[in-house]
C-alpha cells in the first residue's frame, strides 16, 4: 500500500495543489509549498499514518521521496 496516493490526496484537498502538478518528481517548491507548509504537511502525515518522522530522516527533495519515506516508516512500525 503506497503512501503516495494519500499524499497526493492531501496536497490536492488541503493545500490546493493543482492535480496536474502532482508528480513523484515534483519538489515541494514545484508544488507551491513553502518551508512552514512542508512542516505542516509532514505533521498531517504523521497524524494520518500514526508515525514519527525523525528530523534526520526528513531530508527528501521530491514528493516521491517523501512517499517512499512514509512507506518505510509505516513498514517499520509493522503497519
Amino acid at each position: 500500500m503506497s503512501a503516495y496516493s494519500h499524499l497526493a490526496e492531501v496536497l490536492a484537498e488541503k493545500y490546493d495543489v493543482a492535480p496536474d502538478k502532482i508528480r513523484p518528481e515534483a519538489t515541494f517548491s514545484d508544488l507551491g509549498l513553502d518551508s512552514i507548509m512542508v512542516v505542516e504537511f509532514l505533521f498531517d502525515l504523521e497524524d494520518e499514518f500514526d508515525i514519527e518522522v525523525p528530523e534526520e530522516q526528513a531530508e527528501f527533495e521530491t514528493l516521491g521521496e517523501a512517499a517512499a519515506l512514509i512507506d518505510e516508516l509505516v513498514k517499520a512500525k509493522g503497519g
Partner: protein, 410 residues
C-alpha cells in the same frame, strides 16, 4: 489644531450576519441571535446559550490560507474586507500602504490551543502542529488583516478582555488625531466558543441560564430576572479616517469619533466599581470637549449580570447627575450577546449606525426593570431620536479596565 476623525466604513462578521445595515435593523427590532447549543464532548457536554456566527472558512478563505488562520483571524479578515469595501477603498486607486490596523482580541486562536492540549495529553505526543504558535497568538488577526491587504502601518493588538476593541478604536482615534497615521482599520475579533473556553466561562457564574421564555429571552440586562450574559463571537472592523483625507476622496462618513477615555478600577479581577467607570466616562467627555447634557444615548457595557448592571447605572448617575434621567441608555448585548474582544467594536458600530439613522436600539427582554436600575433603558422597543447628536459607548472589562468612546452625528 488637532485633526478630526471619521468612521467611513464598517465590516461585520456577527451573530446578526455580515451586512451592517441589516444587522442594525434586526438589533433595532430586538431580534435575538441567541440559541441553545450543545457544547462539548459526548461525555462532558452541556447545553449552553451562545450567540454563534454562521461562518464557514471553507467558503470564504482560500485553502492554503486556512492552514495559517484560526477562526478569529478568518473572521477578522472578512470583516476588514467589509470595512474597506464599505469605505470604498477596496480595489480602488488609493494607496493603502500607510494604513494601520488596531485590533482588539481577548484570547486569540482558542480552538487551536485546545487541539494542542489534546495532542499533548490525550495522544501523548510532544509533536503537535508546527503552526500552533502563530495561529494561537492574539496578534494574529491584526497581522492577517495587514498581510491580506498590504497595509504597512503599525498593526497593534489590544488585549483588554471586554474593553479590547473599544481601546483599539480609541487608540486609533488618538493616533489619527495626533497625526501619526491617516487611516486605520480599527476593531476587534473573538472566537472563543470552543468547548474548553465555554466550560471555563461557565465556571465563573456569569453566563446566563435559559429563561422560561426561551433562549432569545435569556439575555436581560437591567431586568429583575437577569442571570448573566450570552457568550458570542465575531469580528467587527471600522475604517477610521482623518477628515481631510476622507473629504478628498469624497466619501460620506457614517459618524465622527469625538473622544476617548480610559481608566482602571484598581480593585478586583471580576467586580467592577462605579468610581472607575465614572473616571473613564468623564475623561472621554473631557476629551470630546462636549457638555454632559449633549449626550443623548449611551450604549451600555451592561452584560446582564446581577452585580454588574447596577454599578454602571450608578456610574452614569455620578457622571451625568440630573441629565442621567434625560438620556437613553440601552444594552444591545440583550440581542447580540457578549463578543468579548470584539464587543467594543460591534457596540461602537451600532452607536455610529444609531447616530446615522437617528434611531435608538432597545434593551430587549427588559420587561421588569430591577429597582436599582431606574433610568430610561429603551425597554423592549427601539425608538426614533431625531435630536440625537452625541452618543457614548462603554466597555468595562474584567481586571477593572474601563474604556469609553464618544461619537457624534455627521
Amino acid at each position: 489644531m488637532s485633526k478630526r476623525v471619521f468612521i467611513t466604513g464598517l465590516g461585520f462578521v456577527t451573530p446578526h450576519g455580515e451586512d451592517p445595515n441589516t444587522a442594525f435593523e434586526q438589533i433595532y427590532r430586538g431580534e435575538s441571535a441567541t440559541r441553545m447549543v450543545r457544547s462539548g464532548t459526548a461525555e462532558l457536554g452541556s447545553d449552553v446559550l451562545l450567540a454563534q456566527v454562521d461562518f464557514d472558512a471553507a467558503d470564504r478563505i482560500p485553502k492554503t490560507q486556512q492552514i495559517f488562520m484560526a477562526r478569529a483571524s478568518q473572521m477578522a479578515v472578512v470583516a476588514a474586507e467589509g470595512a474597506l469595501s464599505s469605505a470604498n477603498l477596496l480595489d480602488q486607486d488609493v494607496d493603502l500602504d500607510d494604513c494601520a490596523v488596531y485590533m482588539g482580541c481577548g484570547l486569540g486562536g482558542a480552538e487551536i490551543i485546545e487541539k494542542c492540549y489534546r495532542t499533548y495529553y490525550i495522544r501523548k505526543s510532544r509533536r503537535g502542529r508546527p503552526t500552533a504558535v502563530p495561529l494561537i497568538m492574539a496578534n494574529a488577526p491584526a497581522s492577517h488583516v495587514s498581510m491580506r491587504f498590504g497595509l504597512r502601518g503599525p498593526a497593534h493588538t489590544f488585549s483588554i478582555a471586554c474593553a479590547s476593541s473599544t481601546v483599539a478604536i480609541g487608540e486609533a482615534f488618538r493616533a489619527i488625531r495626533d497625526g501619526y497615521i491617516e487611516r486605520c482599520l480599527a476593531g476587534g475579533a473573538e472566537a472563543m466558543l470552543n468547548d474548553g473556553s465555554v466550560a471555563a466561562w461557565e465556571r465563573l457564574g456569569v453566563v446566563a441560564s435559559e429563561h422560561a421564555d426561551g433562549p432569545a429571552a435569556s439575555s436581560r440586562p437591567f431586568d429583575v430576572e437577569r442571570t448573566g450574559f450570552v457568550l458570542g463571537e465575531g469580528a467587527v472592523v471600522l475604517m477610521l479616517e482623518e477628515a481631510a483625507a476622507a473629504r478628498a476622496r469624497g466619501v460620506e462618513p457614517i459618524a465622527e469619533v469625538l473622544g476617548y477615555g480610559a481608566s482602571s478600577d484598581a480593585h478586583n479581577l471580576t467586580e467592577p466599581t462605579a468610581v472607575g467607570q465614572e473616571r473613564a466616562m468623564v475623561a472621554a467627555l473631557a476629551d470630546a470637549g462636549v457638555p454632559r447634557s449633549s449626550v443623548g444615548y449611551i450604549n451600555a457595557h451592561a452584560t446582564g449580570t446581577q452585580m454588574g448592571d447596577p454599578v454602571e447605572v450608578d456610574a452614569v448617575k455620578r457622571v451625568f447627575g440630573d441629565h442621567a434621567s434625560q438620556l437613553a441608555i440601552s444594552s444591545t448585548k440583550s440581542v447580540h450577546g457578549h463578543l468579548v474582544g470584539a464587543s467594543g467594536a460591534l457596540e461602537a458600530a451600532i452607536v455610529a449606525l444609531a447616530l446615522q439613522a437617528s434611531r435608538l436600539p432597545p434593551t430587549a427582554n427588559l420587561t421588569t426593570p430591577d429597582p436599582a436600575c431606574d433610568l430610561d433603558f429603551v425597554p423592549v422597543t427601539g425608538r426614533t431620536a431625531p435630536d440625537l447628536e452625541v452618543a457614548m459607548s462603554n466597555s468595562f472589562a474584567f481586571g477593572g479596565s474601563n474604556a469609553t468612546l464618544v461619537l457624534r452625528k455627521v
